[in-house]
Amino acid sequence: MIKQHYTGSSRRAMNLIWNAAGDYTWNSPFLAFHPNSDVDEYMNMVIGLSAKWLDRERITDFFERLGQGPTLDEASSLLWLGIENCVYGKELPDRPQLERLRRERAEEFFRINGMLSEQQMSFMSIRVYDQELLRWSSVLGRKVLSVTPGARKLAKELEFSPEWNTDEVLQQMERILKNTFHKMLPDRPRVREPGKKGLLRTLAANLSSGAEKSADLLILRKGSGSGDHKRSVHISHSFAAEYVPEDLSSSRAYIEESFGPCMYTDAEMEILHRNLCTGDDASCRLWFTDESRKKNPGKEPDPHAPISGETGRQSALTKEGRKLRLDQEKQWKRNEAYYRAHLFQIRESIRNLSAQTDTIFQSYLRYGQIRAKRGKLEGAKAWRVNVLSDMNIFLADSDPEDASVSVDLLLDASQSRMNSQEMIASQALVIARSFEECHIPVRVTQFRSLRGYTILQRLKEYGEKSGEGIFRYYAGGWNRDALCLKAMGYLMEEERKKEMFQTRILLVLTDASPNDSVPLPPKEGGLFAREYEGDEPVRDAGEAVRALVSDGIYAGALFYGASSHLEQVHQIYGQQYVRVKTLGQLPDAVCELLRRSLSQAQTQHTG
């Protein structure tokens, strides 16, 4: 359950408030912090208790009408002292510990103020300081000599009775406002930002809120960008400008500028193009980059640098590249912010998924063990000794490395994912870290197609524990699934030849809707190129998956798309897919796919 994005200390403050209020649905407009920015435990409890014992709507409305400004913030701080006295008395019989917490709060007041510099003290409101001094001194049974009779009178007025109801509390607050601050409560609420109730004055800095993320416009996008359901964006060819294959050479500079240099040499790329860019993909090119994975990408151009180039075409490209860089940087920060805001849930998901994965993997290793003449007795096979004179009734103690598994997570980074980018990045991180904790190496790659290039960006390499590159996930462009799958298969086969891993699993997060701006070549005897969408790309992708399987790569899909594409995902991946309706289900879906893939691997090994 995700409610609102808070920073660490704000969330702790909210938890204190919710706990005291006994209601986790209340979105308190107040949070309390000490001047040193530590969470003020007691005053946050007071805020929560005010919601429990008084009419929270009317109290909130009062402070909203009060508005903001130095004097009104001062008034606000004082009035909270009044409320404190009231709710303390109300709650004490139910919570005897409150008396001790109040005393600790009083001691904290003197401790913190003793540590403040003269300059810090000079920023304080004397009026509020006096009232706090009087209140907390009385709690500790100390005498105060240095305050005026007026301050003592106000302190008396701020001792709101525990017997009072909301009406009486509000009346007293209005009275103090009028007599002490010579203010009348305005009828209309003023605009007030969510505030933090401070020890001596309301601290500035607004509560960070989880505002709805607006849809990012990506200049590379050629489609209409019209959403086809809540979390998906469909690119329509009717609005799209098809990419002209002749532009490929001029696009290279742009792709390199936008996504970083290619991981492979020109000669290596030539081999890849010759093997993979064939048939329907003959007009396309591939680009592999691991720039996103690096913490400080070396040749990364400054997104704020002035636009270079004089000619129209060159100038336009560079401008787009610059915008894309900026958008990528922004999204990177959003992904990280989302991760930080949901740190606790993410850590919990990692723990849960690790536990599941570990069980599945251990189970697979157990099946992968070899029968031998010594080791762990397999009771069910004992009959073979007498009947078949077969002494191989034990399971050999094999090294888990012998049955090594690697997982490749392939993330569709086309425009259809743009409304869920932060969520996808976080979930990919959960999956990657969980698997790595179980010593299953995971590689994370995002793919998209743009200007004739199918770009595979490495976000995380096998064995990397932190996987921080995953935060670089960024959606935009098209997706030419078949070419991408062929490319992944080719690379994984290369790794198999190096005997890196015995069992290789490829998990693809997809909406099973291949769609690209580079058209399919005309049919034999035909004159016109055909758009890359619909049945043919699906069939191509299906063939690519079957080729992967025949090469011993267990490919499965995490389908996150519209129901209308269910038939397509079935055509591409057969039974090897799991539908994910919300991205929160992704870890469970991954486990299910992992289980299926390993079970398929077991069948092949034993068969």
Binding site: M1, I2, N15, W18, G22, L98, I360, A380
Partner: protein, 306 residues
């Protein structure tokens, strides 16, 4: 057992049901080794309505599926039921690798020949026990298919290559499941239809106070109330997903009280039994905040108990 009957009468459980349970006990008296397996649970299950539903279901020959979140007393109820009906108890803990041989039994070599070594479900069915299928939804549905004939009207176990045994009329199976745990799944329809499903509610506040009073009769009333409130505050926090369910641990709360009585400081006892069950520092901080808002950190046995 008499204590349990007395407790149930005090709880207000229907006299007619208790009498029928007593006659069931007389009709199926446990003897020999089975007597050792009849549990004597240290804790009672509190909740009249749940008790009545469960007793009625057992008397009707049904198998029970206790479904509910953590700390709802599923296993406590299962043990209490076995005690009330005087039946030996077999506990089967389910996990993702549980399979037919784990449940029913497997072949083994006794030095001269391969023999069948019965599993817990086989033993329970043969000797008319109560089988607790703990966390039944942790297992794969295909592993559970072997139980279908055991749990439905056929009440048989057909062990391939060996024997077909009839399930004893006194045997009952009690599944427990928690929807929220990692690794759990929905049970399939075929299995669900073989159980009557009892939705386990969270223990009521007055019942929790009673539980604390019965377990620690010398606990001061004010402290009992604070421990009770603490449990519900943690429950609200876990339900709101602000902390995980690890911190919501009724057994942990009772253990903490026991440790305090032994002389451990309240802070240490609560850390050991509740706070440290969560493994995330931030989460621990949130749990500690809730505890600190209720229970002083320097309490000793004398402060909590009379």
């Amino acid at each position: 057992m008499k204590d349990l009957e007395h407790f149930l009468r005090e709880e207000g459980v229907s006299e007619a049901l208790l009498e029928e349970a007593a006659s069931f006990r007389l009709q199926h008296e446990a003897g020999g080794d089975d007597c050792r397996r009849v549990p004597d649970p240290p804790y009672r299950y509190y909740g009249k309505e749940v008790w009545e539903k469960a007793i009625a279901a057992i008397l009707c020959g049904e198998n029970l599926l206790l479904a509910g979140p953590k700390a709802t007393g599923k296993n406590v109820l299962a043990e209490n039921l076995a005690c009330l009906f005087g039946r030996p108890l077999w506990n089967v803990s389910f996990h993702v690798n549980a399979d037919a041989s784990y449940l029913i039994g497997s072949d083994t070599y006794d030095g001269s020949k391969v023999v069948f070594r019965p599993g817990p479900v086989y033993c329970c069915a043969q000797r008319g026990g109560f089988g607790v299928l703990d966390e039944i939804n942790m297992a794969r549905n295909e592993a559970l298919a072997v139980l279908h004939a055991t749990l439905d009207f056929r009440r048989v176990i057909d062990v391939a290559g060996y024997d077909r045994i009839q399930v004893d009329p006194a045997a009952r199976f009690i599944g427990t499941m928690n929807y929220g745990y990692a690794g759990t799944r929905d049970l399939n329809e075929a299995l669900c239809s073989r159980f009557v499903i009892l939705d386990m509610p969270l223990i009521r506040q007055e019942d929790l106070e009673k539980l604390l009073r019965d377990t620690f009769p010398d606990m001061k009333k004010t402290m009992r109330t604070q421990f009770t409130e603490l449990f519900y505050e943690l429950e609200r926090k876990a339900r709101s997903a602000e902390v995980s369910e690890r911190a919501l641990d009724l057994r942990g709360l009772l253990d903490a009280a026991a440790l305090i009585r032994k002389g451990v400081l309240s802070r240490d006892a609560l850390e050991m039994c509740i706070v440290n069950k969560t493994f995330d520092d931030y989460e621990r901080g949130l749990v500690m905040d809730v505890i600190r808002a209720r229970i002083p950190m320097d309490l000793t046995g004398k402060d909590v108990f009379e």
